[in-house]
């Protein structure tokens, strides 16, 4: 059976430059810190895109792990000794709808 997915669009608040590799590292590290490697692997988390200008990004995960990803994003608060905040902008069932609704692409 095909596994159901969800696409989470997020916004970053950070007063500096933040690159895609940083975002991936920050989220994965926090996910593992909170839920462990087993818990993290069950989310099938993947950072599909991150726009360094708008500081918006798109994460894919399994439909039953949206709350885990949201909790992970909400619990992040700093990077390189500077305040950093992630907000969930919206959640969608397809990547196309997520991009159309929340990323205006």
């Amino acid at each position: 059976m095909k596994k159901r997915k969800r696409y989470i669009v997020f916004q970053v608040l950070y007063e500096g430059s933040l690159y895609e590799k940083d975002v991936l590292k920050i989220i994965s590290n926090q996910l593992i810190r909170l839920f462990g490697e087993v818990g993290a692997s069950k989310t099938h988390f993947w950072l599909h895109l991150y726009n360094e200008d708008s500081k918006k990004g798109l994460i894919e995960c399994r439909h039953n792990t949206v709350q885990i990803i949201r909790a992970t994003l909400a619990s992040i608060f700093e990077f390189a000794n500077q305040p950093l905040t992630f907000y969930t902008v919206g959640v969608s069932g397809t990547m196309k709808a997520a991009k159309r609704k929340y990323l205006n692409t």
Binding site: Q67, L73, P83
Partner: protein
């Protein structure tokens, strides 16, 4: 549609522009009502006053200190919260009308007794935990923080005492979207239905009560 409330915006700076940015950011995130912890005349701000109420935070370790502060408050239009490490003060506050909120954190939650929870539940007094405590407190290791809070918060909820969550934010970095807060509370073993009550139903009760008083 569910309405969310943040009853503790702790603005410490006197810059009107930044406060406006902070409050507008709260509304953008999805909050319908806010309580501002500062003695600021809200008429100076370009916002709908029916969406913001004022609040006073009292820190006290004796009943006398609380009584003294209450006497200095000019009117009963302000939401009053008390933070204390003393159980007899907590009990007194829980059964005293004007005090609506008992602030809890990792320090005083360990000492919180069942009797206080019972008194608070009977007298419509709410316990309040700040997001700052959940996310930013570095005094405790994460494991310890999660274990203490999941045990104690669930004890409060099982006693049918009202528990609310607020940001305690003084800048936009400390704010979180309401649905992200609900997800975050899952880490502390709080059911989604209880988490929704903590950020929506319970604070709504308080907000509605005070916004009606303020409009009179």
């Amino acid at each position: 549609m569910v309405k969310f409330y943040d009853l503790n915006i702790c603005y410490q700076n006197n810059q009107v522009e930044y406060l406006n940015i902070l409050l507008q950011h709260c509304f953008k995130l999805g909050y319908s009502g806010l309580a501002l912890s500062n003695n600021i005349d809200l008429t100076n701000f370009n916002l709908q006053t029916d969406k913001v109420i004022s609040r006073i935070n009292i820190v006290a370790n004796t009943v006398g200190q609380v009584k003294k502060t209450l006497k200095t408050l000019p009117e009963k239009k302000t939401l009053i919260s008390v933070y204390t490490l003393n159980n007899s003060v907590a009990n007194w506050c829980a059964e005293t009308g004007p005090i609506k909120i008992l602030s809890i954190n990792l320090e005083n939650i360990k000492k919180l007794q069942r009797s206080t929870m019972k008194i608070a539940s009977e007298n419509n007094c709410f316990f309040e935990l700040q997001l700052l405590e959940l996310i930013y407190n570095k005094d405790y290791p994460l494991v310890k923080k999660i274990s203490i809070l999941s045990e104690k918060l669930n004890k409060i909820l099982n006693q049918d005492a009202g528990l609310i969550i607020s940001s305690g934010a003084s800048n936009i970095f400390q704010l979180r979207a309401p649905r992200d807060v609900i997800a975050l509370l899952k880490i502390f073993d709080i059911k989604e239905s209880d988490a929704k009550k903590m950020i929506s139903d319970y604070p709504k009760k308080i907000f509605d009560e005070y916004s009606i008083i303020c409009r009179r």
